[in-house]
Structure formats: structure tokens, C-alpha cells
Amino acid sequence: MAVNKVFPSFAAAVADIPDGATIMMDGFGGEGGMASHLILALRDHGAKNLTIIGNTVGTSGFGTKVGRDFVHPGILVKNGQVKKAIASFPVSRSPSNPTEFERAYIAREVELEMVPQGTLAERIRAGGAGIGGFFTPTGVGTVVEKGKEKRTIGGKEHILEIALFADYALIRACKADKLGNLAYRGTSRCFNAIMATAARITIAEVDEIVEPGELDPGKIITPAIYVKRIVQRPKEG
């Protein structure tokens, strides 16, 4: 039988996510690159005690047109499904418009591991690449270095950062073929392309699904080896 990773619905694609799972998601935090339908399906599915790994933990009004809203990880926080976030940009810039996560964090309902964005990206990359960790100069002399092993390399202080690997990654791409090869649009590649490599089960929400051979092999950014499930987004109406 030919390989076909296409799932019939977003609900079916997230149905086996258990309580306590660690899940990567969020793209860069804006509407583009956000796996909004998968996140909505996960909210309806209801898995609890989740650890979510992402750049933001949901920021309304970011990277979207004025007056428009979109589904982001904030709905999981609001629904009480999140135990902990590993993130770089968890709060909004404006105190008058706090994120769901900020509200929950101040109420001590959620834990936060704050990570510099480049360290977050590299920890994810390392996780997908089978590297246990790496030494980086980012965070030296700041709260980030607390409790971490230090080493001087080339006369410069570095700290040890440990790789991240998740149970699931919910990612967003523009095109997939049925084998699971993915292509992205513009700045929506961001965290999606690295998260795709760093989870036991990567689920991609895509705008269009095509037959194998229809994607230019040179333009495939995430090869099929990383992707387990694909779901097509409904056409924007």
C-alpha cells in the first residue's frame, strides 16, 4: 500500500495525545505559521498537564491584521490544560493587554522556563539532531546561567544548554505531498521547520496537499522522514 500520511480531520490527528504530553507549537507567535486548527482540536480533545514549548505562549494581535484574531496556544492556557511552558516571549508588550499565560503565571497556575530565543531554537535543533546539549555564550552573567555548567572556550565564558525533544510537534506549512514532504511560505518557516525534527510525532497542518512529485525536491525544506501526519486546512472563505 502506498504511504499516505493524510489524516481526515484535525480531531483524528490529535486524538492520541495523552495527559502530561510535551508538545512543540506556535511558529513564531503570529498568525502565519501557527497551527491554529490543530491547537483548536487539542483544546477540544482536552489533554491536560501539558508542557508546551514555543516562542510565545499565545499573543493576541501579533503578526495579524488590525482587528483580526486567530487561535494560538493561549486557548490551551485559558482552558487549564497547560502545566508548564518553555518559551522565550511569554507576555505581551503592553501591560493593559496581558496574555492568558501572564494571567495564569501571576496566579501561580503555570510554570515557566524562560529561554533566550536563539537558545530555544538551538535546543530544539539539537534535540532533533541527536545532540545532548551545547555550550553557548548567550545568557552568561544573567539569570539564564543559574544552575548551569560553565566552561571557558576560546577565552569566552559559555553555559551548557540541554537539548529539547517533544512527544508531539504541531506545525504549520504551506504545502505537503502525501509522503509528508513539506514546503513553507516566507517567514512562517521560523520555528516550524526545526520543531518538525524534534518530536516523536510531528503533525503538520497545511494549506495544500499534492501528489508525490509535485513539489520541487530542491524546495522541500522538511523531508518526509520527519513528518508522521498531515491535515489539510479548510480553504479560507
Binding site: G29, P95, A121, T142, V143, Y184, R189, C190, I194
Partner: protein, 221 residues
């Protein structure tokens, strides 16, 4: 009260630091405005943490706004010939790897040694590190663009930062609404000053002792 420079003028002064062919990353706020003032005849290639190089100005018209073409501040930008996209790991490899020539960042405090504090909202007990720590550590030149004093008139240029640090001894140049100062091993060198202000007046707005440059001049408007 004497007039201070406005945000646009701070941004204009910052942009004079860009050399032809520089790869530049701009932070949120005043730094972003610097993209409007690139000196004539120079080409500057902008980098953004979310994975693009060589994009154009902010997309003002709704018809030009594309959710797959944003900068790290979430603003819509426009395409330019020669633009490229890449993932977040590569984006930060460029930053940490010293490939970005200049980053311009906002700040809450800068110390006389060039320590930078710009990520925590102290009154909220939480903040966003975002790309600031990597940029402060990795860019070849770190410029801070900010108001010289905070809303309550307190020092932002301090002997020692009291807010949580972004990185130690990373800032090279500070451009404010009052002055341009270079961070040197001996301390802060006052190089340029806002029109109508005296060095003594700028000193009273600054906690650490300023060293007067022998070539001290007015900021050209």
C-alpha cells in the same frame, strides 16, 4: 525644560552608523524607526530573528500585508529582490556566529561598562527575553537607542544596572535624546550632544561620570 530630540531624530542619528553593505538587525521601538533614515547611497540589508534577510519597508496598506512576511516585532514588511528566508536555528546561528554587523536595541538601563538590561518589566515581575540576549552577545556592534532618562526622570544610564541583565559588557554605542556616547574601557565617552544642551546638563541626567571627547560636537540634525 529644554527640548530633547524626538524618537525620529534619535533613529536618524542611529542610522548614520550603518555602513554600505552592513547586515543590520533592529529591535522593537525606536530602533525600528532607523530603517526610515538610511543615509543616501548606502545599501543596508536587514535581518530579522524570525528568519528573513533583505526585506523592505513596513507594509502600510492592508493589501500589501502578508501574514507570512513579518518582522520579529510582528509588523508586516514588504519583499525586495534578493530577499531570503530561513529557519530560527539558522537565524540565530547568524546572530551568535558574529555575521550580523550591527544590532540596534532599546534599553531600560545601560551601565558605564556597557551592561544592558532590557528584557524584564520590573513592575510586572515577568518579561520577554526574545532574541535580545543572543543579539547582545553575538552582533559585531551593539547600539542602544533610547530616551536618556525614564518617564520619572530617573537615570537609565547608570553606574550599575539594577534590573535583570540581558548581557554583560556588550554595548558599544548609546544614542539618546540628549547625547551620543561610546562605551570605552575608561568609561562613557561623550561624543555628541543635542543642540542647546551643555555637557554639564547632560552629566546631571547621567549617573556615571562622562568623559568629554576632545572632538565633542553637536548632533547634526
Amino acid at each position: 525644560m529644554k527640548a530633547r530630540l524626538d524618537r525620529e531624530t534619535i533613529a536618524m542619528r542611529v542610522a548614520r552608523e550603518f555602513k554600505d553593505g552592513d547586515f543590520v538587525n533592529l529591535g522593537i521601538g525606536i530602533p525600528t524607526l532607523a530603517s526610515n533614515y538610511i543615509p543616501e547611497g548606502r545599501t543596508v540589508i536587514f535581518h530579522t530573528e524570525n528568519g528573513a534577510l533583505g526585506f523592505g519597508p513596513i507594509a502600510v496598506e492592508e493589501k500589501d500585508q502578508d501574514i507570512d512576511l513579518i518582522n520579529a516585532g510582528g509588523q508586516f514588511v514588504t519583499p525586495l529582490p534578493g530577499m531570503s528566508f530561513f529557519d530560527s536555528a539558522i537565524s540565530f546561528a547568524m546572530i551568535r556566529g558574529g555575521h550580523v554587523d550591527i544590532t540596534v536595541l532599546g534599553a531600560m538601563q545601560v551601565s558605564e561598562k556597557g551592561d544592558l538590561a532590557n528584557w524584564m518589566f520590573p513592575e510586572r515581575g515577568i518579561g520577554n527575553i526574545g532574541g535580545a540576549m543572543d543579539l547582545a552577545v553575538g552582533a559585531k556592534k551593539v547600539i542602544v537607542a533610547m530616551e536618556h532618562n525614564d518617564k520619572n526622570g530617573k537615570y537609565k544610564i547608570a553606574k550599575r544596572c539594577t534590573y535583570p541583565l540581558t548581557a554583560k559588557e556588550c554595548v558599544n554605542l548609546i544614542v539618546t535624546d540628549l547625547a551620543v556616547m561610546e562605551v570605552t574601557p575608561k568609561g562613557l565617552l561623550l561624543k555628541e550632544i543635542a543642540p542647546g544642551w551643555t555637557p554639564q546638563e547632560v552629566q546631571t541626567c547621567t549617573e556615571p561620570r562622562l568623559i568629554l571627547s576632545p572632538e565633542l560636537k553637536e548632533i547634526e540634525l
